[in-house]
Symmetry: C2
Subunit: 333 residues, 2 copies
Amino acid sequence: MTNPVLVEVLRGAIVESAHRGAIAVFDADGKSVWEIGDTARPVFPRSAVKAIQALPLVESGAADAYGFGNRELALACASHSGQPEHVELARSMLAKAGLDETALECGAHWPSHDATIALARAGEVPNALHNNCSGKHSGFLCTCVHVGVAHKGYVNAGHAEQEMIRDAMQAVTGAAHGADERATDGCSIPTYAVPLRSFALGFARMVTTTGFGPERAKAAKRLLSACMAEPFFVAGTGRADVALMQAAPGRIFVKGGAEGVYCAALPELGLGIALKCDDGAGRAAEAMVAAVIAKLLHADETLAAKLIKLANAPIESRIGAKVGALRPTAALN
Amino acid sequence: MTNPVLVEVLRGAIVESAHRGAIAVFDADGKSVWEIGDTARPVFPRSAVKAIQALPLVESGAADAYGFGNRELALACASHSGQPEHVELARSMLAKAGLDETALECGAHWPSHDATIALARAGEVPNALHNNCSGKHSGFLCTCVHVGVAHKGYVNAGHAEQEMIRDAMQAVTGAAHGADERATDGCSIPTYAVPLRSFALGFARMVTTTGFGPERAKAAKRLLSACMAEPFFVAGTGRADVALMQAAPGRIFVKGGAEGVYCAALPELGLGIALKCDDGAGRAAEAMVAAVIAKLLHADETLAAKLIKLANAPIESRIGAKVGALRPTAALN
């Protein structure tokens, strides 16, 4: 099955590039509300499921034991830009469990463009705290310390931490996460390829807590609420996830992942959304998620305008002139 | 027409993302040697045709008047990484025509990752000389000064410089470059969408000089030879264009462009190649051009191994572990 073109990239009046993809929208009872493209093909969700991966942090009692509020929980669900606020918060989360960045096994990388320039100007180099996943990994480490398992090797499949996460992922999405579906994410933890529709169902469950026990229900609510309350700590300055969640505070949860994945949830509709751009382009995935939310949400004129703007990002020349734009196709109407 | 998947991105053993595209290989007589996908669809060549756009610099006598050698001519055809060597050479080209960076109308942007860090550490910010197109623009400005036209507005359609370039593009590719095909490139000059097969034919002509007058023939030879002799000045440290041209010195000319375009020429076969990845991904275009060259060139084992390695770039985690790879599909065999 060939997925349809969902986003075109215009230069002047001509289509320069095009992005295909698949999108699943489900309710928490497993009803398909809207699907386009092949939503049964296994997809690695990458960072788009960090909120589910953070369930053990809350359910284990670690988040309460260390006094984590919305910012810490948002950072545990984040792919952050490595700005000083992110780095310091990850450091403080680790400190509460008696750890420092040497415990992180995610590796280091230079952060977002602006943060990289600031770091280089200060004569510094990035460490693992600057890794966009350091909040998630700090959450993993805090969970290990709190429940009393040795944290070394916590990124490996088979470690108690990854088994807790796998159990949560399987329970929430309803999809088997076996060795055959497994590969390694950029931050060294396992990532499992399962159908998009399972992630859509999973986020519908996360946002409605349908079928969850009381502990899981409370944890899911806290995590999604924390992300919607503190979107800067989920991403960073200028990022699409922040703009989308700030466009309608408390009404939109979104989380992007590498290789063009998005998961989202709309509390007032009780819907979960999962999508992937076939070619892995983040620019197209951002346009797709904004367009789908604009389609589904009962938006007033102001909100609709904000979402449409995010779905039609301009292409600019190096002098800042608008020379083109992204454009969702009719398939997304 | 839906173009075929030409490159897959594997994570572990699972295909995570996929890139479609079209490729045209032509000889200088206009014979199609190999085509895949829709090679008649108009495509913006972006920076992949800089060697053709540099013809007026040589043909006008400007390159000789200012004493430009291989490095300057390579930089005039370059999308460089903004490393100090590139910046200084562009500055010296402008100085020979009595100009400095204030004459450049390409705009400024932060250069490649490593060059950005070096610049920020030095407490500096980029100027137009760091723009990846500054060598091309310096060539444009030198041409203006040498032939005696006012350089202000040299980036605009209708300016004498852009008309010289348009004439060269039309003559070499055989395709009309009209207002309907025109949009604006990232560096503010016009870019025209014409069929891939026209670019393939154009580069077959550039490398064989078939049908060219003696001045154009000499200019084409000098420009392609300069790029193959000084590939670092066409791109920069670690770039695919450099690796490809260094893999078989004098036997491979390649030039990438934004949004997943490549033009290439193989002197010993007299062939021109043009390709575009549908979605604009540079990683896939690099794999495609390496795979096509491996297919066409009569390569010994060492060269074949180099090309296959470039066509199958690894995907690494943040700790440098190989967790996946790009893989050309059977369509490229």
